[in-house]
Amino acid sequence: MSAAAIELATDHGETVETAIGADVPLAVQGLTVSYGDKPVVFSVDATFPAGSMTAIIGPNGAGKSSLLKAVLGIVPKLSGSVTVFGKPFETARRRIAYVPQRASVDWDFPTRVIDVVMMGLYRDLGLLRLVRPRHRERALDSLDRVGMADFADRQIGQLSGGQQQRVFLARALTQGADLFLLDEPFAGVDAATEKAIITVLKALKEDNRTVVCVHHDLATVTDYFDRVMLINVRKFAEGPVASAFSAETLQATYGGRLAATHIDQLDLVSA
């Protein structure tokens, strides 16, 4: 760790652990992530209640994906804690499903749609357990929920971007998790896919599961989500869309980068 990074950590100090119950799907406290000397997420506290659908929004490079990856242990935390259903992340893995950005993998990889979805069963199958018909059925059922059942035997490279995104969502559904973390699931997808994904996510919410999405489209926030978290390295606002998603909080988060006219066009509840 570089001197500046250590300074950053000591500056921030020890996180005060507060008791978090098993009924809270996800809580982060004092989360700080840094690449080199530059903090990309700084001292973020947030709680995501059960059955909620939260959009994490902020400008490009605001640390949205880094926040998600730090929660999942994909990138290291400089400081802070992550609690999943009252337990540390490592012991609660089974209850979490992650949908990475579609562009993060090579879609020329030699495999079929059904094989990718079956990857979501790894925690059940382990190294050597045989794939049973019920495993295949579970994977096919997930594909059906995202409207991709007919594509099970296709090579993944033959799919459109939106179809690839739905396959990633199907893999997460197969995991049977209670907390879903999605990184830009609506980025660059067609209208049919966007509708399919939001239908699935809303069904998850109805089922009292918790959804957290890194989201970039401000225009759909009010339609799709019930909670919002605005970050730009630091957290600027968090709470129900009705109160936290306002012209003031957006202006604060985006600084000068969001034109006032753009904000006017959004369907905001004025504070």
Binding site: S104, F109, R123
Partner: protein, 309 residues
């Protein structure tokens, strides 16, 4: 094919085939991970390590060789970091500089040291001594059932067979985590797959294959077998499972065809001497890759590549 074949050709054929399989198996994953150069790198670094281990212990037995190769790999990693930082050179170039420099150093060291009583010289390092791995104790196919004759098999055969078997078993046992973390490392980490350990294990496995094969067949085959059979196999199919089988088929085909062509090809063309079996095996694997590039069914990329964010 009678006694001559069993005595002269059977063991080199088997060792060449086993070496090709041992390298091609991890090669499949190295290529998909865009780490194909690692196989090349390892086989270069191995040389100075083996020479130093020989100079210290005076033998060419397995463990000193393995330890020497491992030591050289560590030196290589340190060297690459140093070149990157001190010379401010991009990682790929730093790798290239470090590996060729270490290999050259190994060649110099080899020339200066007295290795006349063992199979360790510059030529051996490059293309092995496949043709000299003769089964002296055999007198025909019946020797395969003769305990005494079997005891006289070249020790390289047993060693290579053991290494190949271990690599095959490791590939089978770790198939799922290997496949998942090669496809989507971020996701693999979230479902509890130790991705760093899997990646490291793959490189170590490739290194063990390289050292074992290097001893019998030299670095030319090692470099070719890490890349050519898996790369050709990828063009034959769009399923990883089938790709592995194709790569094994191409590895065996290269080894057998290369060995036969090296021994008899020049005679058919009216020449006098046989050519290096290792060189011919590597050439055949290259020709197979070339043919696959031209005629295989899945030659074009179909999916979008990964873009780092």
């Amino acid at each position: 094919m009678g006694a001559d074949f069993v005595i002269l050709s059977l063991t080199p054929l088997l060792i060449g085939t086993l070496a090709a399989i041992a390298c091609a198996l991890p090669g499949n994953f190295l290529i998909l991970r865009r780490q194909a150069l690692i196989g090349d790198a390892i086989s270069h670094v191995v040389l100075p390590g083996i020479v130093v281990a020989f100079l210290i212990t005076g033998t060419t037995s397995t463990w000193p060789m393995m330890l020497g190769a491992a030591g050289a790999a560590i030196v290589a990693v340190i060297l690459i970091e140093a070149i990157k930082r001190l010379g401010r050179i991009e990682p790929g170039a730093a790798m290239g500089v470090a590996f060729t420099a270490l290999f050259a150093f190994g060649v110099l060291l080899l020339e200066q040291s007295d290795t006349s009583n063992v199979h360790l010289d510059v030529e051996h390092a490059l293309y092995g001594n496949l043709e000299s791995l003769i089964w002296f104790g055999a007198d025909g196919w019946g020797s395969l059932l003769d305990r005494q004759a079997l005891a006289e098999l070249p020790p390289e055969l047993g060693r290579m067979a053991a290494v190949t078997a271990v690599i095959a078993i490791l590939t089978l046992v770790f198939w799922r985590p290997l496949k998942i973390s090669t496809f989507d490392e971020g996701f693999a980490g979230t479902i509890g797959i130790p991705t760093a350990a899997i990646g490291f294990g793959l490189v170590v496995t490739a290194a063990v294959a390289a050292v074992a094969a290097f001893d019998a067949v030299g670095s030319i085959i090692v470099i070719a077998m890490f890349i050519c059979p898996p790369a050709a196999a990828r063009l034959m199919t769009n399923r990883l499972e089938a790709q592995i089988w194709w790569s094994l088929f191409f590895a065996i085909l290269s080894a057998v065809l290369g060995f036969v062509l090296a021994g008899y090809g020049p005679l058919w063309l009216g020449g006098e001497d046989a050519v290096s079996a290792a060189g011919m095996i590597a050439t055949v694997s290259g020709v197979i890759l070339g043919l696959a590039c031209l005629y295989a069914p899945h030659r074009t990329r179909i999916g979008a590549p990964a873009t780092p964010d």
